[in-house]
């Protein structure tokens, strides 16, 4: 199983002071949730961890080697990323989209074989989009496209899963389904590292939490320790009420202004 860590990493958010250097060690079977307000650098962090953006300083280390020294293809076999925004300039079907996840595993002259097809079908089924496999992507709803993107990562099947707000556009049932799927994958030895805006999803499914502040400060640790109401109120500049339910502490924003 591949292991991801950072050494004195400062991500490059334009026009921001360096802030606090990240020394993360993300282990298999852990589910990390990155929380922070808009513009705190969550997406920048994810892209830096995937080697798609240069860091301002410090290193991202994948299996004891600096990420920058590794070939993109080798990285893609160990680490995959679900983007928050996707381009589809050309029409493509759901099945074709899931199958591009096999790209790093195939040599130039190889075509997708039965087993690749089977992996893609499994992934589409796991995300409840198997019935759409022949449909064109641009005819789907936002939530369906989000699930196809996660299915593509599942088809890629790397050890380390990075996901940028994977519950965006999803209805409540599919939010839960996706979070359960990610927890199951972590249970099977994968590493899951995701950005979230929903504190309660983080509270119930994440084993570790990284808080990212707009000024570049950061702190991280086990979810139970990190999800302190006072820290979160400061993070979002928002008063919170805490509620105990289903064995987890849940957070509800305090409403200001008159009630309806």
């Amino acid at each position: 199983m591949s292991k991801l860590s950072t050494r004195d990493l400062i991500i490059n958010v334009p026009g921001r002071p360096d802030g606090f250097a990240l020394n993360l060690s993300v282990e298999p079977a852990q589910v990390w949730g990155v929380l922070g307000p808009n513009g705190a650098g969550k997406t920048t962090l994810l892209h830096t961890l995937a080697g798609l953006l240069p860091a301002r300083s410090g290193q991202v280390v994948l299996n004891d080697t600096d990420l920058g020294e590794q070939k993109r293809r080798d990285i893609a076999r160990q680490l995959g990323l679900v983007f928050q925004e996707r381009q589809d300039s050309f029409p493509a079907t759901v099945m074709e989209t899931a199958l591009i996840g096999r790209h790093p595993w195939l040599s130039p002259w190889e075509s997708e074989r039965g087993e690749d097809q089977a992996l893609a079908e499994q992934a589409l089924t796991a995300l409840d989009v198997d019935h759409l496999s022949g449909r064109l992507l641009n005819t789907l709803s936002g939530g369906e496209r989000q699930r196809v993107a996660i299915a593509t990562l599942m088809t890629q099947n790397p050890d380390i899963w990075l996901l940028d707000e994977p519950t965006n556009h999803l209805d409540l049932h599919h939010q839960v389904k996706v979070m359960n799927l990610l927890a199951d994958q972590a249970g099977a030895g994968k590493t899951v590292f995701l950005c979230l805006h929903d504190l309660n999803l983080a509270a119930r499914w994440c084993s570790h939490v990284l808080l990212l502040y707009t000024n570049g400060d950061a702190c991280w640790g086990p979810a139970g320790v990190m999800l302190e109401p006072s820290a979160l109120e400061q993070l979002y500049n928002q008063k919170l009420i805490t509620v105990e339910a289903d064995g987890a502490t849940l957070f509800v924003p305090v409403r200001s202004g008159p009630k309806p």
């Binding site: 798609l52 993109r72 050309f90 029409p91 079907t93 074709e96 591009i100 790093p104």
Partner: protein, 319 residues
């Protein structure tokens, strides 16, 4: 997948056969067969082997080159409406060719000068678009469009100061004309080599069509791949323009229509473009030779007359 390529191959073969049989003198299929086997009259042999075959093959190669270059440009710019000339390459080639014509050079120098002009245009656009900032498709596209407008002005200027007896030749060149082709072999060789070379990269192109970040996340070395596509597409277009002048719409229409029918897998689209583009230009050239025979029309006029309504129809019909 293989079947659609096979069907296109058979279509291309029949297009070539038709082009060989039709012309100022129509040759029945039986005579055609005899001539190919080395029998038949000497007149027929000269007509077929020395005139029609080279011209037909040149038309096929040019059409194939333009269609493949168009398909590549569309992936590079992530824009299904890009064509091989979108970055102003044909303008550079035209200025090169017209300069050679203006100074009264021979056909070989005209070709060489057109090729040099095309490559100069390529480097110019790439150099400017690259500049100091990042190289985004929209930046490349805008640079290409503006530089193309510049070439257009230079062409108009050259036509304005050209003595009138030289004008028809220049206009034919600008409209695209296969009768300029001297030998089909360089263009055919480039076409075959390019398709063989690009096929192992075709799946990379599929991933690149999803955007550079997604492609990088799936293990594609994006920058070198984009460079390669750009240079290859430019080389293909330059070869086509040098062979037969600037023929419009083949590079835009052929890949676009194929995508509508066959989907967007470059492993099929690229070889299919070579076959369908070749077949289309062979048919268009046959039409250009026969419609008002013995006079000939520039083939670029035919492709544009066929291409514009077809394209508008497709655009209107698509979602």
């Amino acid at each position: 997948m293989i079947r659609s390529l096979l069907i296109l191959g058979i279509l291309a073969f029949f297009a070539v056969l038709l082009a060989m049989a039709l012309g100022s003198v129509n040759i029945p299929l039986l005579d055609l067969w005899q001539t190919i086997q080395g029998e038949g009259s000497a007149l027929n042999r000269t007509l077929l082997m020395d005139l029609r075959l080279p011209r037909t093959l040149a038309a096929f190669a040019t059409g194939g080159l333009l269609a493949v270059a168009g398909a590549l440009m569309q992936v590079l710019l992530r824009n299904p409406l890009a064509d091989p000339y979108v970055l102003g390459l044909s303008g550079g080639a035209a200025v090169g060719a017209l300069l050679a014509m203006l100074s009264g050079m021979g056909a070989l120098l005209i070709s060489g000068s057109a090729f040099a002009g095309a490559m100069l245009a390529t480097l110019l656009v790439f150099g400017i678009a690259h500049g100091t900032g990042s190289w985004t498709p929209s930046r490349l596209l805008l640079t290409g469009v503006v530089v193309a407008a510049g070439w257009g002005a230079v062409i108009t200027l050259m036509l304005a100061i050209t003595p009138s007896y030289k004008l028809p030749g220049m206009l034919y060149w600008l409209m695209g004309d296969v009768s300029y082709a001297r030998s089909p072999w360089p263009a055919l060789t480039v076409l075959v080599l390019a398709v063989v070379l690009i096929m192992p990269l075709a799946r990379n192109l599929n991933v690149l069509a999803r955007g550079p970040l997604q492609a990088a996340a799936l293990g594609v070395a994006v920058r070198p791949l984009e460079w390669m596509i750009y240079l290859l597409a430019s080389l293909l277009t330059a070869t086509a323009v040098t062979t037969a002048g600037s023929i419009g719409f083949v590079g835009l229409i052929v890949p676009h229509m194929l995508r509508l029918v066959l989907g967007n897998d470059q492993r099929i689209i690229l070889p299919a473009s070579a076959l369908a583009g070749g077949a289309l230009l062979v048919l268009a050239d046959t039409l250009a030779r026969t419609v008002i025979a013995p006079e000939q029309l520039p083939v670029g006029v035919i492709t544009a007359l066929l291409g514009v309504p077809t394209f508008l129809y497709l655009l209107h019909r698509s979602r």
